[in-house]
Structure formats: C-alpha cells, structure tokens
Amino acid sequence: MGKGGGGGDGGAAAAAAAEAARKARIADNIQAVKSQFFAREAERDVPEAIWGSRMKSVYDDGGSFIKEVPEQYVTNQSAIDEANSWNKDRPFTDAYTQPRMTALDDIEGRVRDRFLPDFEQDIGDARRELKFALSRRNLLGSSAQADAEERLQDRIGEGRRGIDQRVAGARSEKEALDQQLMNNLIGQAQADVSRSSLLGGIGSSFLANTDRAINAANQQSMGNMFQDVGSLFKEINDQKAIQQGMANAAMFSNAMRNNPTNLFGGNSTSGSSGDIVDWG
C-alpha cells in the first residue's frame, strides 16, 4: 500500500508471495533436474565444536550495564556454519553423476563386446594366413617375417581404432542425447512444470538414450580388415610385381606373334589380368 492511503495493496502482496513461491519452486526443480545429470562438489567435513569461555556483558531492560559474567561459546562456530551451509547446497561440478558414469561405461562395454569378438577372430585368421604364406615361401625367420608382422600390427591397431571410434561415438551420442534431455527438462522446469512430471520418466528417457546411442554404433558395420593378409610382406609384393611383369611380357610376345601390324590395337586380352601367379 502506498503512502497515499486508499485501502489494500491490490493483491500485490499476495502476488509477490506467489511469485516468490514460484521462483523457489522453479529453482528447486532446476536443481533437481541438474542433480540427475551432474555430480555435486564433495561434502566438507564439519569440524568438531571447540568450546571456549569469555566474559559477557549483562544489561538490564533499560540497556544499562549491570555486570560481566563468564559464558561458554563455540570458538569455531563460523567454520561449522560454513561447512553445514556448503553441505546443505553443494554446487554442481562438470562431472557426471555416478549412475551416468556407469551408464556410459556400460555403453562402451556393450559396443566393444559387439565388435571385439569378430575382430579377434579376424586377427586370428589373419595370423594363420600370414604364417602359411610365409611358410609356403620359406620366409619364416627372415626379415620378411619381421616386416610382415610389423605390418600386421599396424593393421590390428587400425582395426582396433575403428572399434574405438565406434565406442567413443556411442558415448558421445549418449552424452549429447542426455544433454538434450537435460535442456528439455530445464526448459520445462522454467515453465513451472511439476517435479513429478519432470522427473517421472527420466529413467526411461536415460535408457532410451542409451538404446539410441548403441543402435547408432551398431549400424556402422566393420568389414574384415585382413582380406589381403597374404600380401602384407614386402617380398610377396616384390614377387607379385615381377610376376605381373612377366605375364605382361608373355602377353606382349603372344600379341606380336599373332598380329604384328596391330600391336596396340584394341584387344580384350591386352593389359594386366590382375591375377597373381604364385611362383612359390
């Protein structure tokens, strides 16, 4: 009510009280939403009360000094209050809550489990193929084996990184989806949606995000990276080049013999066939 008088405040006091309640409700709901996503700072230890004594002045009702009396007091009360205040409303960190961390680890594990067994199977097959190839060429224990094994390691690492990319991608997808969910919920909280509506379905929303992230990773299939394992070592490649040259020479002489005037004519048999003749 203003100084001018005139009864009542037009409901301003009631509106102010309602607005204060609304603000408090929204703030609490936003905190409740965030607490589902981000971890809070660690609790602080509340120090033990340390008692001390001091003299206290006593006054009468009129404010006149009467006497000083000893009193017991907690010397570290401010530290206790500060710790209690901190623990009551700990600020959020950038770190995720433990359930979310567990969920992200779970997603990573599921994606790895999806691709690693096949990958390991391929590695085993590739090792066997390489071993046979080296054995056929009598290259075991040679520098060619050392060279081929190094190349195989590189190829294994490349395949593993392919899996890593899918694992990290699934995790990022889950994080992004969760972030969208949080933004959506905070937006609703700011619109003063009730807390039960906000958090009632958050568990299923988290699970749906996990499902979407895993499915997105699963759609990126991995092929066998070791199809050409027989050509992983240098000597085989060198031999392959020699064989290709010899095959081309044979074809060239054959063509010269059959049609010497049309040496470079369009012949379907000209050029490399791409076949590898195993001289070993």
Partner: protein
C-alpha cells in the same frame, strides 16, 4: 447574509477542492515514485542477474575453457582407446608362433619392428583421441549459449512478474480517503451555502416581499408561521393573526385550490429539495373535509364538506378558536 456568506462559501468550496486535489496529486506522485522505483529495481536486478550469466557464457566459449575441454576430452578418449587395447587378447598382438629356432638376428629385428609398430600405434591412438574430441567439445561449447538463454529467460520471467507486482502496487495507491472525504464535504458544504445564498438573493428580487432571512429559517419548523407572515402583504403575522390577513390568504386558496404554504414552498423548492421536507406537500384536491380552522375561515364551522370556493370568514368562530384549530 449576502456577501459574507458568499465569500465564505467560495472559500469553503476552494478549500475543499484544493484538499481533494492535493490528495490526488499526492497519490499521483506516489504512483510515479513507485513506478520509477520499480523500474530502478528491475534494472538493478537485470544487471545483477544477467552479468554473471553472460560472463559465464563468455568464459564457456573462451579459449581457456576450450583448452581445458579439449584436454579433458582427449584424456577421456585416450582412456577409452587404452581400455579397448587392453581388452584385445595379448596372444593375438604378439609375434607369430612359428615354432623352431629363431636366430638372434631375427629376434632383434623382430623386437625392433615390434617396438617401432608399438610406438606408431601409440602415436596413432593419441591422434585418434584428439581427432574424436572436437565433436564433443563443440557440443559442450554449444551448451554455453543455451545456458545463457535459459538464464535470460529465467530473469525475464522474474522481471515480468516483478513488473506486474509493481503495477499492482501502483494501481493500489489511491488518494487518502479521509482527506478526499473531508475535501468533498467542505466543497459540497461551500457549494450548498453558495447556492442557498444565491437562491435567497434571487427570491428576494422576484417575490418582492421576501427577505433572505425568511429563507434562512425555513428549516426550523417552530418559526415557520412567522417566516411566512409576509408572503402576500408583509403585514400581520400568523401568531397574532388579524382577520384581514387570513381573508387575503383565503383568496389565494380559492383561486388556486392549493394550500398557501405549499405555494410558498414551491417557489423555494426550485432551489432546495431536501429529502425530508419540513413542509409536507399535500396533494391538490378539489374538496375535502374542512378542518375547524378552515370552517372558521369559510364562515360555516358546521359544514365539514364544503369546497374551497366559499370565501367567507366568521369572526365569531375565529374569536372562539382554540389551539385545535391550528392542528
């Protein structure tokens, strides 16, 4: 009364209007003050609340935060890569199991190649961890403007509510009801007095025989007979009535068939119409049961149903009149 009353009435009207006006002006000033105070508070609140929000947004998209985010994301990706690496069967990543004796030269060569391969893998893993980071860091940085928008919306919501509440406070500010009532009362009193004075003056001019003082005492029933003593002639009074006065009065009764006092009252009624009239207005009637007083005037005290046309007076009856005649 005349000029002194007119001046007093004018002063009262002016004072009443001034009091009311001042009360309203005070309320208007208070509304302006409250409105300005509301704007000031909202501006202050907006500055206090929005500054940290924008500051935080600027920090979130700043290079320092970007470096931290990249570092954290690189580490997270590297941990993921290392975990996958550790889960691959070690037997599959070692040397080929070929059996037989291996020369020292081969073993050295193999170890050298493996070491080189491992170093290359680590470099590639690190590169991949860094390669994967920008996407996620971009998402995190993209959250900064969203957070700022949330903050702005929240503050805007509160400011709108504050404005509405302040508007309610402003609209509730009304002129002081006591002062307004007092001012109105004073103004009305002054106006009434002025009108009365004006009416009195006008009556004296138009009726010829009326004095302002006669009207001043209209509200006093006890003085009514005396006040109307001069209505037609200005001579005798009812309290000491002479036969001639009443004879003159009865003439008007016969002509208009309206009680003389009602006729007199009607001339005043143009100016005053009090809710509780001290002079009852009787319906105009052509005949009615005569009162003893009327019968005495009519000269036929025994006749109780004569019309007003009779214009005779009985001195004998009048001399014998008692108080019941005037009731």
């Amino acid at each position: 009364m005349g000029w002194p009353l007119a001046i007093a009435a004018a002063l009262a009207s002016y004072a009443g209007a001034r009091i009311s006006s001042e009360a309203q002006k005070k309320a208007i000033r208070e509304r302006q003050r409250q409105t300005e105070e509301g704007i000031r508070q909202r501006t202050k609140k907006a500055n206090e609340r929005l500054t940290p929000i924008f500051k935080q947004a600027a920090e979130d998209v700043g290079t320092d935060k970007e470096k931290k985010l990249f570092t954290a994301e690189d580490a997270k990706n590297l941990a993921t890569i290392n975990k996958t690496k550790s889960m691959v069967d070690n037997r599959l990543t070692g040397g080929l199991e070929t059996g037989g004796k291996k020369s020292a030269k081969f073993q050295n060569l193999q170890s050298d190649r493996f070491t080189r391969a491992k170093a290359g893998q680590n470099k590639r893993d690190l590169a991949l961890s860094r390669f994967l980071s920008p996407s996620r860091v971009g998402q995190i940085r993209g959250q900064a403007p969203i957070n700022a928008a949330f903050g702005r919306v929240g503050v805007a919501d509160e400011l709108i509510a504050d404005r509405n509440i302040n508007d309610m406070r402003v609209s509730a500010i009304q002129p002081n009801s006591g002062m307004m009532a007092f001012g109105d009362a004073l103004r009305i009193a002054g106006m009434m007095a002025g009108m009365y004075n004006m009416g009195a003056g006008m009556g004296a001019e138009t009726a010829g025989g009326l004095n302002a003082g006669d009207f001043a005492n209209l509200g006093n029933t006890a003085q009514t007979p005396a006040n109307f003593s001069n209505i037609s002639t200005g001579a005798g009074q009812i309290g000491g009535t002479t036969a001639g006065n009443f004879a003159a009065q009865t003439g008007s009764f016969g002509a208009s068939a309206v009680p003389w006092y009602q006729s007199a009252w009607n001339s005043v009624g143009d100016f005053f119409q009090p809710a509780n009239s001290i002079l009852p207005v009787q319906p105009v009637q052509q005949s009615h049961t005569l009162t003893p007083f009327e019968r005495a005037i009519a000269g036929n005290p025994g006749n109780t149903s004569q019309g007003w046309a009779t214009n005779r007076f009985s001195p004998k009856a009048w001399n014998n009149a008692d108080s019941s005649w005037f009731k």
